[in-house]
Symmetry: C2
Subunit: 337 residues, 2 copies
């Protein structure tokens, strides 16, 4: 099968992407699904992994962690899917990714795909949607929040923020403040359900205070640095919650003690890395996202026109990648023909 391999050659400064032909994998693990990939999206993690692995295996790695495809084969212990079903998933960071014609994924971290979305649109959602859903439901219990619960989603109009605003909006009691870095993001976030939009990074707590709503009880942060951290602590109610959906460095966590705050780490790859029956939660969240898409209860994040999957197209998309813009999506060439 065709695949795009990310590989560090001896002496090279940066990992290269190359088009390769490799053996089609087989569903030999009991809970594995072999998936014929329809489309896969580029996410910030791909560029980070290309840049951040100086000791990358010389045999290379297939990147890509957000895809939609059709089940081709099933392992002997698979209970939830049969061949021919269309599924979507983010996958596991330790296993080969979706920039290939076929991929193996454990059934516990896959969900049925929406029927009403084009493959290109669907492929952009699993990683960002799981991040938003796990943050909102598994960490912040936003579905059980009552009146007066204000949540700040500091995501600058990116894919996670876009979906987090829409999922939080499903609880009408919650008041949503989002952040935007551009007028376009601002309009989009208001369109998908934010009650207020504030500037991206400047004096966050002062802007929030000026809105006149109650102090936030919950925050989802995709931009955690010293400055935003201090703003979070200043603005939150006592016993409030901060969910970190990015990967910040050192934080002065002791500053959160005086208000008895709670700090949640949200890493989408946790459940894939610790497979057990609890990992089915990820499959269930994906099935719920599919249902919401089919009911048009959530609007998918905008994507660029799909490009044929190749080392050149992935590399070009990585070079152009920006936070907040339409998401690049790739379709295996066998499917473009």
């Amino acid at each position: 099968m065709g695949a795009v391999l990310c590989r560090r050659q001896a002496g090279a400064a940066e990992a290269i992407l190359e088009d390769v032909e490799m053996a089609r994998p087989a569903a030999t693990a009991p809970r594995d699904l072999l998936v014929r990939i329809e489309a896969a999206s580029l996410n910030p993690i791909d560029r980070k992994r290309r840049a951040a692995r100086p000791l990358l295996d010389p045999t290379g790695a297939v990147l890509g962690w957000s895809a939609v495809g059709v089940v081709e084969e099933t392992g002997t212990g698979v209970r939830r899917f049969v061949p021919g079903q269309r599924i979507w998933y983010a996958g596991a960071s330790e296993r080969p990714g979706s920039f290939a014609e076929f991929q193996l994924v454990d059934e516990r971290i896959a969900g049925r795909a929406p029927t009403g979305l084009a493959a290109e649109q669907a492929a952009a959602m699993p990683l960002a949607g799981l991040t938003a859903a796990e943050a909102l439901y598994d960490h912040l219990s936003i579905d059980r929040a009552g009146p007066g619960h204000v949540i700040l989603i500091n995501g600058g109009g990116g894919a996670v923020a876009s979906l987090a605003v829409q999922l939080a909006r499903r609880n009408p009691a919650v008041e949503i403040i989002a952040t935007a870095g551009s007028p376009q993001s601002r309009e989009w976030l208001l369109h998908v359900g934010a009650d207020h939009v504030v500037g991206h990074r400047i004096c966050l707590w002062q802007q929030v205070r000026q809105l006149g709503c109650p102090a936030p009880r919950s925050i989802i942060s995709m931009y955690t640095n010293k400055r935003s951290w201090e703003s979070y602590i200043a603005m939150l109610q006592p016993f409030g919650h901060i969910c970190l959906a990015d990967h910040p460095g050192t934080l002065d966590i002791g500053a959160a003690r005086a208000k008895s705050l709670t700090l949640h780490w949200q890493a989408m790859f946790t459940r894939p890395a610790h497979l057990g029956e609890a990992s089915c939660r990820q499959g269930e969240l994906l099935a719920e996202l599919a249902r919401l898409c089919d009911e048009r209860a959530i609007t998918p994040f905008p994507v660029r026109p799909a490009a044929p999957l190749s080392a050149a197209s992935v590399a070009a998309a990585m070079d152009q990648q920006q936070n907040g813009g339409p998401r690049p999506v790739f379709v295996p060439q066998s499917r473009m023909n």
Copy 2:
């Protein structure tokens, strides 16, 4: 009224405690109760505050944050208590403490005292009991935990751990691991409801693994340092919770990301410092603790024979203070006579 004042004299190396006569306070704030103190207990915070405030106001501060007494006067806005009622409370760290004959406390952070406990026993409970109850209920939601939920209480047999074990035990689905530093603590913790007791600080995660129960989902930590922190992260289930009830310094919190862990800060003085209607939660928890004492559903933490309140007795008790031993309690001399 008589009181014990903690005061730093110019040039002195350590704050001194002295017996003083000061004006009896009056309930001029609307929600204040003036309390005639029956007994007050010594807690670790008293020694810390004596040691850690080099810029202590030269007018001095009254320490003591765990007391029982009788309402003597009420502010104009008090709704929950009337003069003559017996109450217990921890109080607010910014206001004068309980080492005096009278004290003011906001009604929202006070609860009715148990009727079946001697004043000396009752005085030992509010600060430790609130810490345990807020950690278990407000942070870890242990009352809603189902079968298979294992909690580790790393408290070495201290007052908080003693009460946390008993409150957690009220949910029969929860499996409780406690830590002890001595055979006496071990016996006591098993007596009050722990399922397992492990050694205090040595290779915590290995000891827990050897118990053969499921991996813990929740931890309450009164001994958070580099070593225990690493053990917590190694032993917890993905999406597990750590509640810090002490005041640790720097922690490598990024290590908690791969498992999507949640970190709760528990500071008992948060609600007193941010008074609002939400602070009534502390009064409600104290009323619930009183009910459990009266039903003999919890066993009070052991106390030393009560000493008459004086600078000398408080200073002597501070010098002898140990973690895990019976709690020193003081009774105003006017009440001893």
